[in-house]
């Protein structure tokens, strides 16, 4: 199966190790992922802000870049939601582009979804002695309906102890522009998320969404140094 990596801009520019971890993980599972050097940003920030015409241009570029891949896999559920659910809507008045968007929507997957559902793998051969918890990011959980897959991957790690944190499915308060437009509300939300992580007693907070990681990770770095949040792909790759 030909797998193409969609490395979202947050990962590419801010947290490239997540990208390399995804690559390593997929290699380990016998894949030879390709990476199109022409990829940019899926346009979600523009779309969410209401700049639909401008978002269209990014969407069309994305479709041109990924249009022929058998499977497109990404470590960011929010960006996958954008492509899968919002591209067809965004391009609904341009039949040619719309049909390409609908067609692509059927081929794009979030990483854990691809590994567990498509490849049928839950044990990637990782082991970790310690306690972890998992934050259910909004667009992965409610946008894509993905919840069991990452938990299965975590449960299959040898030696790991998984604890569920309180309000695991509550939003962390990132919301892209929201975090800078309404910083006080965003802070109150991320503070709760960090508090629930701390009180869970877990050593590591795992998540599968780079946006949440920027937010929660940045909050922990400022307020609870030493407490760690990390992407599930990194956790699996580093401990495999």
């Amino acid at each position: 199966m030909k797998v193409s990596l969609f490395i979202p801009c947050t990962v590419d520019l801010m947290m490239p190790e997540i990208g390399t971890d995804v690559f390593r993980l997929l290699k380990r599972l016998g894949m030879s992922p390709v990476y199109h050097r022409g990829q940019t940003c899926c346009g979600q920030p523009l779309f969410n802000a209401g700049y639909r015409d401008q978002a269209k241009r990014a969407a069309k570029h994305f479709i041109e870049v990924f249009g022929n891949d058998e499977r497109v896999v990404s470590p960011a559920g929010s960006c996958v939601t954008m492509v899968k659910h919002h591209y067809p809507e965004l391009l609904s008045d341009e039949p040619h582009w719309h049909s390409r968007a609908v067609e692509l929507a059927g081929r794009i997957l979030e990483l854990s979804q691809f590994v567990v559902d498509t490849l049928g793998v839950t044990d990637v051969g990782a082991s970790f002695e310690g306690k972890v918890t998992y934050h259910e990011s909004c667009h992965i959980l409610r946008g894509l309906g993905v919840s069991d897959q990452p938990k299965k991957l975590i449960a299959s790690v040898k030696g790991v102890q998984y604890v569920e944190m309180n309000s695991a499915t509550a939003c962390c308060g990132f919301g892209g522009e929201f975090s800078v437009a309404y910083p006080e509300i965003s802070e109150a939300m991320v503070k709760d998320k960090a508090g629930n992580f701390l009180s869970s007693g877990a050593d590591v907070l795992l998540l599968s969404e780079p946006g949440c990681l920027l937010n929660i990770g940045g909050y922990l770095h400022r307020n609870h140094p030493g407490k760690k949040a990390m992407h599930l792909a990194s956790f699996l790759a580093e401990n495999a």
């Binding site: 520019l13 030879s32 523009l46 401008q54 802070e187 909050y219 770095h221």
Partner: protein, 482 residues
């Protein structure tokens, strides 16, 4: 109702610091969803029950004009006088007129959001008719002149001390008390007197049934039933989307509204009225009016994207799961409708441009639409309003900020649309951003989105992006990339 939606940010900031609001909101956001789950689990198939209520509301809204006519026919046939009000002014003056013609000095009211929307109380008072709210929460907000804190529980956050003080001032109690039961009892005794001599009552409508002309009210205090059954004249005020085709549909919505609102299988009181007292009957109002309020809803009905908001059944479940509401409470929404349904309803009633904060202060987490028993997709509407705002602002009289916003968006769009420009942008951004990095993290920047750094750090941009590492990565693995 006077809108305070322009004060969203300052009200939210204030509420974030009010300990009592915060403690209450925490309790609500943790407790209410559990109660709802317990309530729904009493259905043999909760998913089917949700699908049914969503289907009922979808059908009702799509067949709205026809169902309203059927409702009017059947209600009129049973002796109800139906009044159509195009806007708030028409509704208010029709109701005041009913009161004045009968020499009514005061009315009691059941909790009704649409009457708050149209500002009925203010209008009646100005016209010389005193108004007594009878829902305990509404009594308290009315006495304290507070806006609603929650769609269903408008005074849930008011501490007993404050209630005691205002009850003392109004002579409802003679000795101060903070015992909730005592306060409730005092309010009950005070309201009983109003009911005893009542000539006209005003209520809202939870569901109206097209096939019978019946209107149904759901409540827990009995105040609506008393308001409906005590007076000679009963006026029901109904926003025009409340009608459903059949009694079976209506009863299912009653089941759903109770479970989603308080987790109850059924509220303590459910009353159904089909026309006034008939000859030979011993009680009930002698005349019944139903005021069907449009107030912009025909416009919403004609709007293919926004129409779905008319499906809302006002259960308030969306607020109970909204992470933003859980932090700021109902006051910032600044109007009759709070929480996610307010975020999508108020902009249509007050204008898109006046309500920017309502649809921007949202993380698009989707918790609201996931649980909505009426099938409203709030995030899609919020995204739609944002797009409309941008289109409106980029019209003729765009101010500097919106012109700058558009220019930035267009620049970003151009960059995202071109691999070359994108890579060039990345190369330029790194040194600019990393100038402020210490120990691999940035704790503040002198300009731009500084608000990020109020509570958070940002990792410095790495020396090499994934893109820049790719060649080495694939060389290491000995594979070709495209």
């Amino acid at each position: 109702m006077h809108s305070r939606v322009d004060k969203f940010v300052e009200t939210a900031r204030r509420e974030l610091k009010v300990e009592l609001s915060q403690a209450f909101l925490l309790m609500l956001s943790l407790g209410a969803p559990i109660m709802r789950q317990i309530g729904l689990s009493s259905f043999p198939d909760p998913a089917a029950a949700e699908a049914y209520s969503r289907a009922v509301r979808a059908e009702a809204v799509d067949r709205l004009p026809e169902l309203l006519e059927e409702f009017e026919r059947n209600a009129t046939a049973r002796g109800v006088q139906v009044i159509w009000a195009r806007d708030a002014a028409e509704a208010n003056s029709a109701i005041l007129d009913i009161a004045q013609r009968r020499g009514i000095r005061y009315v009691t009211k059941g909790k009704s959001l649409v009457t708050e929307e149209i500002g009925l109380n203010e209008h009646l008072v100005e016209g010389g008719v005193e108004v007594f709210e009878t829902d305990l929460g509404e009594v308290i907000t009315q006495l304290l002149s507070l806006p609603p804190f929650h769609l269903v529980g408008p005074a849930l956050n008011v501490p007993p001390e404050e209630i005691s003080a205002v009850f003392l001032k109004k002579g409802i109690i003679s000795e101060p008390t903070t015992v909730p039961v005592e306060l409730g009892k005092a309010a009950r005794a005070y309201l009983r007197e109003k009911f005893r001599h009542l000539d006209m009552g005003i209520v809202g409508v939870n569901v109206a049934v097209a096939e019978t002309g019946t209107f149904i009210n759901v409540e827990n205090e009995g105040n609506i039933r008393l308001t409906k059954s005590s007076p000679k004249t009963l006026v029901a005020v109904m926003s025009l989307e409340k009608v459903v085709p059949t009694m079976a549909d209506a009863l299912h919505l009653v089941r759903m509204v109770c479970r989603n609102c308080t987790g109850q299988k059924l509220s303590s009181y459910v009353s159904m009225d089909t026309g006034p007292k008939k000859t030979g009957e011993i009680d009930g109002p002698e005349e019944v009016f139903i005021v069907i309020v449009d107030n912009g809803r025909s416009e919403i009905y004609r709007d293919p994207q926004a129409r779905q908001i008319l499906r809302c059944i006002r259960c308030g479940a969306c607020a109970n799961v909204c992470p933003v509401y859980a932090k700021i409470g109902g006051y910032p929404y600044g109007f009759a409708y709070t929480g996610p349904m307010g975020q999508v309803m108020n902009p249509l009633l007050l204008g898109i441009e006046a309500c920017s904060d309502l649809y921007r202060a949202c993380t698009l987490c989707g918790a609201c639409s996931k649980i909505c028993p009426a099938g409203v997709d709030h995030p899609s509407l919020i995204l739609e309003y944002r797009a409309r705002e941008i289109r409106l602002k980029n019209g003729g009289s765009a101010d500097f900020r919106s012109r700058a916003g558009k220019a930035l968006a267009s620049l970003l769009s151009m960059v995202m649309g071109s691999s070359l420009l994108w890579r060039l942008g990345v190369k330029c951004a790194r040194p600019v951003l990393n100038r402020f990095a210490r120990g691999g993290y940035i704790s503040g920047i002198p300009t731009g989105p500084q608000a990020w750094f109020g509570c958070r750090d940002l990792r410095a941009m790495p020396a090499r992006t994934f893109h820049e590492q790719w060649q080495d990565l694939q060389a290491g693995s000995g594979r070709e990339a495209s």
